[in-house]
């Protein structure tokens, strides 16, 4: 076999793989090795068991652990994702899910969770489980556990929790996470790229 006959298919393969590869996200923190989409079951805001791995399989999924009494990080992070998802074409919106798991099940009832999420987007999924279960899920995906702070004189308390949104792409893996401070413009640049992972597979 001549050298050119050997190189041609190799070069074609390289070019093809380069053309099909989804562009890498420009923001966020890479997760290496990629995190496989976890399987866990919690209760959604309709009171029905929600099996995360199964219900979100193949979809661009934003997973965030927070609480509805959070005064700063949670509402800002969730609002920024919601603002950008709203601007996506309808077809792309259908391929995305935002899943919010409460890290404060003592105060976040299912109805409170629903009311809070509806401020941002009625399609956002709210999940609740007992505290031990949520901590187990968080540690299973490498997140530190949520910690309840000391209550003030009025009985109110804050919950320390990871301020990161983990994004699972259509290959059922998370390659990047987004800490607090991610701007809407950052999401607007990255979400189409993250959606391309699915297209790559579909192509």
């Amino acid at each position: 076999m001549s050298l050119s006959r050997f190189l041609a298919p190799c070069m074609a393969a390289v070019l093809l793989s380069t053309a099909c590869a989804a562009p890498a996200p420009r923001h966020g923190v890479p997760i290496e090795p990629a995190l496989p989409r976890p399987s866990f079951t919690l209760t959604d805001t309709r009171g029905i068991p929600f099996e995360f791995g199964q219900e979100t399989r193949g979809l661009l999924t934003f997973l965030f652990f927070g609480y509805t009494n959070c005064p700063d990080v949670c509402p800002v992070h969730v609002a920024n994702v919601a603002a950008v998802l709203r601007k996506l074409p309808f077809e792309d919106q259908r391929k995305a899910r935002f899943v919010f798991v409460t890290a404060d099940p003592a105060r976040d009832s299912l109805s409170a969770l629903r009311r809070w999420l509806d401020q941002f987007d009625a399609s956002f999924i709210g999940l609740r489980g007992d505290e031990a279960e949520v901590i187990r899920i968080m540690s299973g995906i490498g997140l530190p556990p949520a910690i309840r702070g000391a209550a003030g004189p009025d009985g109110r308390y804050e919950v320390g929790h990871p301020a990161t949104v983990i994004v699972f792409t259509a290959d059922d893996s998370a390659h990047v996470l987004y800490p607090f401070g991610t701007r809407q413009l950052d999401w607007a640049e990255d979400i189409p790229r993250l959606l391309r992972v699915r297209r790559q597979r579909e192509d």
Partner: protein
């Protein structure tokens, strides 16, 4: 206690905050204005003009102190736009109009100070200075970089007030005298000099995403989103700014067409 309002990142509270730096600055402004207004009265300025100056001192105090000051520093771009309109476009003409005679008299007849004042208050230079200040203090990286620190927030507020005084000086004080800078030219100057801030307001109005990280990532304000707030800020700059400028241009036009061209024609400074 902070001495000047800056972006803290803490959730907004209606509990009053105290900013001694703001009080000090307003006190200095009030003392200087009081001294100038006494001299102005002695030089024959009408009493009514001085109330405008005191209104300006009051407005400066209100937009720098709680609650507008801290809201503008770290929560709402719209409050920041109100600050810009007041500090750069409303307060300076009110302050200068009553103090124009003593200010004109204070310009030395010769020397470096006169040369400096003459250069800075040349209409083209003054317009460029004001617009450079307007542009620089609205660049997102500059705003996000300066507003979290008290010194940075103070710098922006001070630049707006000083930039506004520089912008309005040639129109109102007109010292050193420039015969070519007649009423029609002054109207054109005001129109041209404020086109840039109108452009900045337009950018804020049409952008699809929040421009400023400090407002986008600030603890949420319940009434509106950061993008709605930015649009509101653009509207305030656009409409309130235009109302001030075109209001003054309209008054100047009718005074000029009625044969009165005295707004910017105080007596020439006394020569030694």
């Amino acid at each position: 206690m902070q001495w000047w309002c800056s972006a803290s990142g803490q959730p907004w509270t209606w509990a009053p905050q105290y900013y001694p730096g703001v009080w000090l600055m307003v006190a200095v402004l009030a003392v200087v204005y009081h001294a100038l207004s006494r001299r102005g009265r002695a030089m024959g300025e009408s009493r009514g003009l001085f109330w405008g100056g005191w209104l300006a001192v009051g407005l400066v105090w209100q937009v720098l102190d709680w609650p507008i000051g801290p809201l503008a520093a770290g929560y709402l771009a719209s409050a920041h736009a109100v600050q810009f309109v007041v500090l750069a476009l409303v307060a300076p003409p009110l302050l200068l109009v009553a103090a124009r005679r003593p200010l004109a008299a204070a310009v030395p007849a010769s020397g470096r100070t006169r040369a400096l004042i003459s250069f800075v208050t040349q209409p083209v230079v003054a317009g460029v200075i004001f617009n450079l200040v307007a542009i620089a203090t609205h660049v997102p990286a500059v705003v996000d970089g300066l507003m979290p620190s008290q010194a940075g927030a103070f710098t922006i507020d001070l630049l707006w007030l000083v930039g506004g005084l520089v912008l309005w000086w040639p129109v109102i004080v007109a010292a050193p005298p420039r015969p070519w800078f007649s009423a029609p030219v002054r109207m054109l100057y005001l129109f041209l000099a404020t086109l840039v801030h109108t452009g900045i307001a337009m950018v804020m109005l049409v952008r699809d995403f929040p421009m400023y990280g400090i407002y986008e990532l600030a603890p949420p304000w319940p009434a509106w989103s950061p993008l709605e707030d930015q649009h509101l800020a653009g509207g305030v700059m656009e409409l309130a700014g235009a109302a001030v400028i075109f209001g003054i241009i309209t008054v100047m036009f009718f005074r000029w067409s009625g044969g009165v061209d005295g707004d910017a024609a105080p007596p020439a400074p006394p020569r030694d």
